[in-house]
């Protein structure tokens, strides 16, 4: 049976077909849908772990009893998980595939790192699918490879392969015959004294995998016109196939280690050899290290951003490579200039809006974090001044305070951290403990919307249920912060601007760490829609103060259109969810709740 699947859906299907029984992840674009889809297969235990590091540790434990496992994470998630991933390589976990979704083009990630480098770095093989079909098949191949050589295997996708859809031929499930059993295995104890021979074994393991690569069905030569030969993998292979329809290809499925004999065979068959890949020249470096002549690679293509057929065709054609598809070398018409951008924005009714309206007014320095609230960096708020990585809002604010020393309490140096509830659980808790321990007095505002909102509303430890929909204990966030040693903890209604302002000011004046939990459930995830509010046209002076809340439900009608002196603000009833935040900005009482719902 054939189905249209995204790469991520196909990876989930592949996990099921490969007999995986344990799958773990923390949500992160573009990898999130992998576990969301795995959770639809009842044969697999799946969980959102608290962060990527925990996700990998859970999987390592599961391999200890012989379970086939998969973990999934986004590009920077691997940085969080790197410690257990490196150690999993030293252990040699069998039946374990780590999926990492990189993001050339930085559609939703802060870095554009090429995680294929982890292959040689952590000494594990890297598979790179180019289609949804391969996303599915390579999970199975990865599990087999992992069991055969006793190594974790990295399956590396990009935003394009994870989120593109294509045809997938479905297959059946192959389960392991022996049931899980807890057998004590010395290689799971990485005590320095006991791991004396492990590094050597790792190098020998890689040599065996390198030899196997030449026999592997994961790599193939596609001979056509012998004038131009292109080595490519992943989405870049698809772009290159369109850009050079008559060229011959070495289609690489395992990008580390490369099949040396196959590379030499291919070189001997073509007159000119090119390497087409996104981000780092990872294949090219390996090929050049073999002493194989490459006629062009990284220098012909952009080294950052995502490729497409136009960039591949023009990049190579400029260097004199014949056979580019003329459709992709014609300079297209320029886009229409001067159009207003349409950046993402906080939803109408979003609980973060009130917090950023107040912070913008207080003019404090705001150390931000990773989530929807990162949008507080944009106009009209301009109320987020640093944004590093998951959980960093808390550590960076503490560092600012300690480096400023005595001047940290000057009015111009006041600062707060803002962090979402899911991000706080992911890696904010340790930072908070660090502040308490080291005598900091930071103000940490936890934007508690009861979900992992930016990635599409995934479960959190405070939500009362797990990925599979099972009921779970909901963490008491106030009690958690108190347990970490913060005595000044307060929960505030995120829609109440006056209460927020009072609470933040008091916390800034206090000489101790403070946590303010600004609470409002995500309107998107919880489908919140109260009655829309209305503008009383006679009372609206057109001062536009309400627009400072940056809500797309608000609009402006030019004065001329309504026959008055000043422009008039309107509320789009189809977008307004009735949160009332804009009304709290109005000094003329012109914005009202619908009749009978005042206050």
């Amino acid at each position: 049976m054939r189905s249209v699947m995204s790469g991520n859906e196909a990876i989930a299907r592949g996990a099921w077909e490969a007999g995986v029984t344990v799958a773990t992840a923390y949500p992160g674009t573009p990898s999130t849908e992998i576990l969301e889809n795995v959770a639809t297969y009842p044969d697999i235990y799946s969980e959102w772990s608290v962060n990527e590091k925990v996700a990998v540790e859970v999987a390592i434990g599961a391999t200890e009893v012989g379970a086939r496992c998969l973990s999934a994470m986004k590009v920077v998630g691997l940085n969080v998980a790197a410690d257990p991933v490196f150690n999993a390589s030293y252990v040699g976990t069998p039946g374990y595939v780590v999926v990492v979704a990189d993001d050339p083009g930085r559609y939703s990630s802060q870095t554009e790192q090429d995680n294929r480098r982890l292959g040689p770095y952590a000494k594990l093989p890297v598979l790179e699918p180019a289609t949804s079909q391969e996303c599915k098949d390579f999970v199975r191949a990865g599990i087999e490879l992992s069991e055969r050589f006793g190594t974790p295997v990295m399956l590396r996708t990009t935003t394009r392969t994870s989120h593109s859809k294509g045809l997938v031929e479905l297959g059946g499930r192959v389960e392991k015959t022996d049931p899980p059993a807890l057998v004590r295995q010395p290689r799971y104890s990485l005590l320095p004294g006991l791991t004396r021979t492990r590094h050597q074994e790792l190098e020998e393991r890689m040599s065996r995998i390198r030899a196997w690569a030449d026999e592997s069905h994961l790599n193939r030569i596609e001979m056509a016109d012998a004038e131009v030969g292109i080595v490519a993998c992943g989405a870049a292979y698809q772009f290159a196939r369109e850009a050079f329809p008559r060229a011959s290809f070495l289609k690489v499925g395992m990008s580390y280690p490369l099949p040396e004999k196959l590379v030499r065979d291919f070189r001997a068959k073509v007159r000119r050899l090119y390497v087409v890949e996104e981000l780092d020249p990872f294949l090219e470096e390996q090929i050049r290290l073999m002493g194989v002549q490459v006629d062009g690679g990284a220098e012909l293509l952009p080294r950052w951003g995502e490729l497409d057929p136009y960039l591949v065709a023009t990049g190579l054609a400029r260097a004199g490579v014949p056979g580019a598809n003329p459709i992709f070398t014609t300079q297209p018409a320029a886009p229409v200039q001067g159009l207003p951008m349409r950046p993402p924005t906080l939803c109408p009714g979003c609980g973060h809006r009130g917090v950023f309206t107040v912070l913008s007014r207080l003019k404090v320095f705001v150390a931000g974090d990773i989530g929807c609230y990162t949008l507080g960096i944009l106009p009209p708020f301009n109320a987020l001044h640093s944004d590093i990585c998951m959980g960093a809002s808390i550590g960076t604010a503490h560092g600012i305070e300690k480096a400023l020393g005595a001047t940290a309490r000057d009015k111009k140096n006041r600062k707060v951290s803002v962090i979402g509830d899911s991000t706080f659980f992911h890696s904010g808790m340790t930072g908070l403990l660090n502040i308490v321990w080291n005598g900091g007095s930071s103000v940490v505002i936890i934007l508690d919307n009861r979900t992992t909102a930016m990635t599409g509303g995934q479960e959190t430890p405070a939500m009362g249920r797990t990925l599979s929909g099972k009921e779970a204990p909901a963490v008491d966030m106030e009690a958690l912060c108190r347990a970490l040693g913060v005595s000044r903890v307060q929960t505030v209604d995120a829609y109440d601007l006056a209460a927020l302002e009072t609470s933040i000011k008091a916390a800034l004046d206090a000489d101790e760490p403070a946590v303010i939990i600004a609470q409002a459930p995500c309107v998107l995830e919880y489908k919140i829609k109260w009655e829309p509010w209305v503008i009383e046209a006679d009372a609206c002076t057109g001062c536009m103060r309400c627009l400072r809340v940056g809500c797309t439900a608000l609009g402006v009608i030019p004065a001329a259109e309504v026959g008055r002196e000043k422009d008039l603000v309107t509320i789009d009833a189809s977008l307004c969810i009735g949160c009332g935040v804009c009304a709290q900005m109005c000094r003329f009482d012109a914005i009202h709740a619908p009749a009978g719902k005042e206050g």
Binding site: K165, Q238, V336, P340, R342, P379, M454, V556
Partner: protein, 199 residues
């Protein structure tokens, strides 16, 4: 206006605003291409898109399709859910390509907060920018069918005469993919969209 043929790859670009149903429309079109026996690649970017940002989806079908992306100047059809997004992506069309768009404007956040101005005479500017253009008020037509939420089905209806799919294939896919509770109103919206495109 021409109809796309079945011998080459058809490049279809869908553009709109997060929350307008662009993703569902692309999904339905990919199911249509599957029903009709084509190879398919479809690609969009998720992430921050649903927060009111621009959403773009590439759909390609034909005998054998490699790249999930095509590039500016190579689209056979641009289906835009919003006029500003139509103007933003109109250069993606081939000279002989067709633009079908919804004439109802959605303000970007930059316009809502008074930082930018929505372009004047947008429909005239679209007509100046491209030769083969059809603008319809898909929201009004959807409302006439029963709900403004069926705007995406009105647009699919308007698009349907330009695609190599039969009425039977459309009917089979829509009945299979849409929830029973919303099926009838969506079928009506599709039909009205198709009629609007004949004018």
């Amino acid at each position: 206006m021409t109809t796309t043929t079945t011998t080459t790859t058809t490049n279809l670009l869908l553009a709109g605003v997060g929350g307008q149903g662009v993703i569902l429309a692309s999904y339905l079109l990919s199911q249509m291409a599957l029903e009709a026996g084509f190879d398919i690649k479809q690609s969009e970017v998720h992430g921050m898109a649903q927060r009111g940002g621009s959403v773009v989806s590439h759909l390609r079908f034909g005998r054998e399709v490699h790249s999930p992306l095509f590039t500016a100047g190579t689209a056979d059809i641009l289906l835009s859910f919003e006029p500003l997004e139509a103007l933003r992506y109109v250069n993606w069309l081939k000279p002989e390509g067709i633009l079908i768009y919804n004439t109802v404007q959605v303000n970007p956040s930059t316009v809502a907060s008074g930082l930018a101005k929505y372009p004047d005479r947008i429909e005239e500017r679209i007509a100046e920018a491209h030769a083969h253009v059809l603008g319809i008020n898909a929201v009004a037509i959807a409302t006439q069918a029963g709900t403004a939420r069926a705007t995406n089905l009105v647009l699919l209806g308007a698009l349907s005469p330009r695609l190599p799919f039969t009425d039977e294939q459309w009917d089979a896919v829509l009945r299979r993919e849409l929830a029973p509770a919303i099926l009838e109103v969506n079928l009506r919206a599709f039909q009205l969209g198709k009629e609007a495109a004949k004018v």
